[in-house]
Symmetry: C5
Subunit: 336 residues, 5 copies
């Protein structure tokens, strides 16, 4: 749901370009066409922030020309389905991150590619994901932060990506809590099993998306990346902590679902046993009238009981009392 922001500079943005602006001293000073970006990025104290959404090859090549980006990075940016990574090409950093959002109650995954170099940052979004317009708007209102430059923007975007995992996990957690309440009192229905199965698959995908981000964030705080000033390291360590918390939550939910599967097997087994006990109990109780009536239904000439005045009533009473006794016994030992 990309809502194009209200552009103040001349010219509507092109298709594929969400925003393309120059910042200086913490303030947006101009919205520029992509083809002037290189020029602006080179100006002392200025940096360019370009946001692209599923750009075509042509647009990517134009951006490449502005910042002398590496061919492989451009090729990667054209083809999503990369693993999260940091790659250093020449004097630019190339970062791949996977994003997770809730769209209409379902988990959807996207991919963001980031190019960071001296004086510029370019974000490329693929697949369903939240626009970074809100990041832009939030930090445009904090000039002191924004004045820190392009590596701060990198932090801001990564932090936003990581924060967006949280509502996804919270929804899954809520579902898990709800299912486990049901599952522990009676065996899972087919719908429960399917839902749990789907949650496990979603968590697997989430782990694959979030897991490698830990390493990406950690590497951004290492000393050998000139694009990230060491003053920014605490910020990136903070993102690393957040993504680790996300990862821990994912791992926990995965374990909890595994517990729920195991518990459900036991609950199911114990219900099967309960049914078997009930079945056996009723079979035993009902076998009594059948057997007794069968005996007195035989056609022997000489069956003295049949001639007794209250033979029938006696037998009926015997049947009823035996059944009642069995019923009481089974009740007592918990089979019924």
């Amino acid at each position: 749901m990309e809502l194009p922001r209200n552009i103040k500079a001349s010219g509507a943005p092109e298709a594929g370009i969400v925003a393309s602006s120059v910042y200086a001293a913490g303030h947006r000073v101009a919205d520029i066409p992509v083809d002037e970006a290189g020029e602006w990025a080179a100006k002392e104290g200025h940096f360019v922030w370009i946001g692209l959404l599923e750009p075509d090859r042509d647009l990517l090549l134009r951006v490449q020309r502005q910042f002398h980006l590496h061919d492989l990075a451009i090729e990667d940016a054209e083809h999503p389905h990369q693993r999260p990574k940091v790659e250093q090409y020449g004097d630019a950093l190339f970062i791949v991150a996977r994003t997770a959002q809730l769209f209409e109650g379902r988990v959807t995954f996207g991919e963001t590619h980031l190019f960071v170099g001296s004086g510029y940052i370019v974000s490329v979004r693929h697949g369903p994901s939240t626009s970074y317009t809100s990041v832009r708007q939030h930090w445009e209102s904090c000039p002191s932060a924004l004045s820190k430059g392009e590596d701060f923007i990198l932090y801001a975007i990564l932090d936003f990506i990581v924060d967006n995992y949280m509502p996804v996990l919270e929804q899954i957690e809520a579902e898990v809590d709800e299912i486990e309440d049901r599952v522990l009192v009676k065996p899972m229905t087919a719908a429960d099993i399917e839902r749990l199965y789907m949650l496990r698959r979603d968590l697997l995908r989430l782990r694959n998306a979030a897991g490698p981000l830990v390493e990406v964030c950690r590497r951004l705080t290492s000393a050998d990346l000139p694009q990230i000033r060491s003053a920014m390291h605490p910020l990136f360590r903070d993102v690393t902590d957040h993504i680790r918390t996300v990862q821990e939550k994912i791992d926990n939910l995965r374990e909890v679902l595994a517990f729920a599967f195991e518990a459900s097997l036991l609950v199911g087994q114990s219900q099967e046993t309960a049914i078997a006990k009930k079945l056996a109990s009723w079979a035993a109780i009902l076998a009594v009238p059948t057997a007794v009536a069968g005996i007195y239904g035989m056609n022997f000439d000489n069956m003295p009981e049949l001639r007794m005045t209250f033979g029938y009533q006696t037998v009926l009473m015997f049947i009823v009392s035996t059944c009642a006794f069995l019923y009481w016994r089974f009740r007592k030992n918990g089979w019924l």
Copy 2:
């Protein structure tokens, strides 16, 4: 259950402040307002110990101003739900630890944030957790220990946190022991399954709380943290050993519960089999009178047995003896 301690200095403590005192040569020399803390901390041979309980942003900012704490640390301290960690911001250490206590027989988790710098230590408690007042009181009675300074206080608090895991684990262990006694003799009830499931979840949370503490404690003994004098390293190594023992206990209990689940499946299966055997045995025994009586209940004109004088009695005896034989057979092979 925070019991405000008896303050000797002028002025009752503010909301959010549990204690705020200056120590010198192992003795408390004054209870001070937060806004004088920086001044006192700078005095040679003095250190300030401030204890906060769920402070509001304003109070945190005032503390920050006194000790020039890092913005990110303050932001973290405001928002609990951090993973245990040690972070070095400027010349202050920031430590996050998760605490576990028993409140009314249930495991509850809290979070403690610690700021340690030259001449001060600040503890911030979030969520349900035991007050550190007892730590304060205990060590105020040992001036020789207290005179070691703020890094000793850090040790004392961490040691206290780790010690508090023990009763929690002992209670879980007691429950596990009790359940396993039941579980091995008869299949789990739904209540047993739910209880085991909940114990597993609690242990998962405990592992998440205690696990990263090992790394935190270990890092506190590394050479590159100037806030911890090397004379203190044996103490922190000791805490590391304790938390490792806690972790080992948690892992053991987790494995034992997994064993109990597996054993319970087997016990359940063997009970199902026992019921099936019983059911089959009785079905076989009761099929005898039914079949025999059915045959002599047929209405053929020419059935010589029906005319025999003791036909009925003979058949009855046949039925009884066959049933008795079957009963004896099933008893012998353990089906009944």
Copy 3:
């Protein structure tokens, strides 16, 4: 399905030789017999690219003589069933990679051995695998790339091998998706179980084929291999990323199949329970006419009901209404 390419130079290629050409400045300058390869490889600015398919010992020895290859490498090349590895023998690199392809809808595994040295690259294919002719043809159309030399060819072949894993995984993924749709609604058939079992075995083999390639590719970017110029490192890092993506996909599918097995156990258990409930319900309903009719089939002289005018009809109605009531009860609680 090796289709011998249209050779321009004199002489048809020998058995076991797919191609044997010299390249200079990005263009093929000659197709040569193997026995001149050493000579050409030594020429400044030229490199030789030889492709072999299951060569016999004699051919391997002739190649060995041209490039002074190590005995052990030749012995390995003669005997497939090696683990993927990089080995440095003298000034040649020896690389083993496993390939996976789909031949007529089934996963088949092959092995490729590569020798790379100054001025030459030799590929040896074993078992079913796609020919590298397409790699050759593709890059012959890009002289600028081809002019980079033999280490670029190494990259091109490895990239091709890794790319060929993808359709295999996509087919398995499609099968898994299809099976899991079936499996979650009703218990697996024997055919489903067998298919899942076979998929698991295939994935196990794929993991064994692809897993060690990560390490192989990673080592090719390390500084201590003189055969790979550092300008090529980003290319090999890119292959490393691709093979990691392949590995992640394999691991995911393995986990998903494990989930499917567990879910299937639960679905099967819940179906067993459903059948047991149905069986028990019908047994109960049908026990009513049997028991009642048995009683009124007894031959007592004095059974007043038998003499009643509408006795029979009353009993019939009692039987029918009791059965109907039971049926309604079982429906309501979901047993029927």
Copy 4:
């Protein structure tokens, strides 16, 4: 079962002291009171060997004074339930090891703390464990070994501890072998399950006791411990190998028990199936007389068969032959 050894020197040993002797040139030269130990330890060519059994605080403090031991080590020695570890306090080594022995056929765990410094070794035993008197007696008969000094004694004690794990493991192995013979032929009884469960718990405890010892022994061979001369390293590497063998045995038994659980589930399932088949077969066979006899027990006026001379005999023969046929069928397909 500590049997106080026959002391040759003056004075019976105090409570808590098993032995306290001075050795020189491989021979015991005197049995000494604890309070002279420091003096003797300082003598060139002499070393003191003190063995304590659950000493009280007072005794520990007296020992501490003799050798200037660290407060934390003494505190640890007072409180068992430590994890195995090596700690270096000043110029003394402090080692914690867990011991396992069989007392009356049950596995019991103890703890031994060792202090090793220049000229002395102190062992402190807690809980049930074998006395080191046999170690002392054995090596007193080998003066050449004993003359190597206190680090040799350390080796001797650790070797003895590790050796004592072996009979424990052998007994468990024997039990496992015996249970698995039973378990593979028929499903586990409740007693089997309980026994297996208990063995798993014992193995878990053994792993916790033995596992960290690997690291302890390994560290004793590292170069940075001045208390262990490098000439002793092969001996400690040997102990490391032994404890690794112990650990491997424990891990194997753990896996074997896990296999046994899984196999037992399958055996149980296959028995359940066998019972279900038997039950179904007999139900089918016995349904024949019931159904047939029921039909000829109907009271219709016009049932021609009933009037036939050999109707009854024909029907009887039909019933018998049908039952026999069914029995033969079920036998043939293995259901009976």
Copy 5:
């Protein structure tokens, strides 16, 4: 099956000695008594190769004296049941390897200890294992290889040991393939379960035997072992690759057996369900004549149907057609 080779030198070999020869320039120059071995080993360009089979202590001590072997190594060599390891004692290497062979179709494990020093190699075999006579004979026919010296012999023996794992694994693989064909079509028999269980135990033992060999071989290629010349490193790296392939095969088979267990549970469950469906279907079909006949077997005076001319035939047809209908229904939905 140790076949003593045809000795050319004077004197038959002693008990425990398989061979004891001197080699120079790739040729055997003499068969010597053990007690001259040290002398020969010291000669420039000569090396001694001694093969022992379960030697007694006395023989080991004589060998020790010749080469000045370390006490601990001799003690280890006397007591098998060591873990595979490389140990450097003085200037000799001591290597322990576990061997696996098929003797009469069963997996048996042996142990080989190797001493390698300047000018000699001693192999000590324990337990059932193939003689190294074939290694000796093979390489005696390749003087150029044999002339490389004692470290080459070490390679040759290790390579032989590793190669001998392969037939063992291939037999297990064949068995697994055969069992899995059976297991996927019908549930395991008790014999299948036992066989699978035994295979798992064998694989566990194989893993323990082969696993540590990887580390042993890897260490032999490290720079700090003077006994292995760097020219030999490629050979040892080759053995490392082979043992890794063995290990991979073992791990695969272990996983495949685990899959087979899981699949077998599902197959068993699905068979149980099929039986339950069959049982329920037949119970339902047979309940029809029982219920109907029961009703018309009642003795009410006024039962109009009984008086109808074709009442009996009508009822019979009703019963038959109802049963047929039910049979058709159950067939259609796959219960029968």
